[in-house]
């Protein structure tokens, strides 16, 4: 792949999704776009880019953005964080929200492992403090969302982060794959959403997980995303980034919370001065 091709992809992803892929090497770009070429019936990553340069190919250009946005994920990624969620945050919120349902959001859910991890926590907690949590999940990539919605995971995927007892309690074997139970799937709501663009009001959330997503965006994208996340977070809600993720602009929107790293609360908005 030529430097010119890479520059085209970097500019396209920055413009359309606030993605910062300059740090990614040519190799990973080529790997992702070669896989996309195969799906599109084209011969190579170069052929995808050549076709995408044509003004009429907006759809293909978006496929490139989606392919570059796809992130790594696993069940219960950062075990300590999920333990904090299970033993501290969720019971606390359950107490504070007596009688109303909790709304959890996996923002940038990729193939859904994080969203299903939340649904499993909700399902397990239902036995102790009642069936009161709904899980919302969004991603920029419609192909991944569709896969996530199916609840189907390969044997290899269900062995990354998912304890075996939770696997046999919450999943059913379908051929060589494993599928999330109807109860888990019923708890989840899916939506395609570009965090770097303006999006419609989606309501107020008690916990938002936006982990290892912002660190892959450029500064304007991060700022738009942080503003949207603050708008969507309940005043006493919690935002979780990845445990080892550092976001330069976070302090303008959120305050770090006590507890494990990566946990934030809304920074109160300054009162608007009377004109």
């Amino acid at each position: 792949m030529s430097p010119d091709d890479l520059a085209f992809v970097v500019a396209l992803c920055g413009l359309q999704a606030g993605l910062n892929i300059a740090a990614d090497r040519t190799y990973s770009t080529e790997t992702r776009l070669t896989a996309l070429a195969r799906r599109q019936g084209l011969v190579s990553a170069e052929a995808v880019i050549a076709a995408a340069r044509h003004p009429s190919q907006a759809r293909l250009r978006w496929r490139i953005v989606e392919a570059m946005a796809a992130g790594e994920t696993s069940f219960f990624r950062d075990r300590a964080f999920f333990e904090h969620l299970r033993d501290g945050l969720l019971p606390g919120l359950g107490e504070a929200r007596k009688g109303s349902r909790l709304r959890l959001w996996s923002a940038g859910c990729a193939t859904g492992q994080e969203a299903y991890s939340l649904a499993i926590l909700a399902e397990e907690a239902a036995e102790t403090w009642g069936d009161r949590a709904d899980v919302y999940a969004s991603d920029i990539n419609s192909a991944e969302l569709q896969r996530a919605r199916s609840g189907l995971f390969s044997q290899s995927e269900v062995q990354r982060g998912l304890p075996i007892r939770l696997l046999i309690r919450h999943f059913e074997k379908v051929g060589e794959d494993w599928q999330a139970s109807p109860e888990l799937r019923a708890r989840l709501r899916w939506r395609r959403l570009n965090l770097a663009a303006r999006f419609e009001e989606i309501g107020s959330f008690d916990v938002i997980l936006c982990r290892y997503v912002l660190s892959r965006m450029d500064a304007p994208g991060r700022i738009r995303a942080l503003a949207s996340l603050r708008r969507a977070l309940a005043p006493d809600g919690t935002l979780a980034l990845g445990m080892d993720e550092t976001i330069a602009e976070i302090g303008d929107f959120f305050l770090a919370d006590a507890g494990p790293p990566g946990i934030y609360r809304s920074r109160p908005r300054p009162a608007i001065a009377a004109a």
Partner: protein, 120 residues
């Protein structure tokens, strides 16, 4: 150093798994069936056991039941590692005293994740 007993009738699998587990900070000993595994545990109880199911002489599950019934045999963390991947089989192994369960094929990430889940 903590010890992990790797029980598999395939020498190749024992070598591959053994190298991964050494990378996790264990001294590895090997056994190729349930009889050898039981003898190894009686001479020195390991902290962890990676255990195949289908084995000649005494199979993995029978060894696991004998281990759990033996003095001090409740202590080792046992991670099954087998091609058997039906929910009923997994439940049977957990009931027999397995702590975690790996469905073959595995890689280093899966073994590391499963050992962490089992508290190792």
């Amino acid at each position: 150093m903590r010890t992990c007993l790797v029980v598999d009738d395939s020498r190749v699998i024992r070598k591959i798994a053994g190298r991964i587990i050494e990378g996790l900070g264990f001294a590895v000993i090997e056994a190729e069936d349930g009889l050898e595994a039981m003898a190894a545990c009686k001479s020195a109880m390991p902290e962890a056991v990676l255990l195949d199911w289908s084995l000649p002489t005494v199979d993995g599950l029978e060894f696991l039941r004998q281990l759990r019934a033996a003095p001090g045999g409740g202590a080792p963390v046992v991670v099954m590692c087998t091609v058997r991947n039906e929910p009923g089989q997994i439940a049977e192994a957990l009931a027999a005293g397995a702590d975690e369960y790996i469905m073959k094929p595995f890689d280093g990430d899966i073994i590391a994740a499963k050992f962490a889940e089992a508290g190792l």
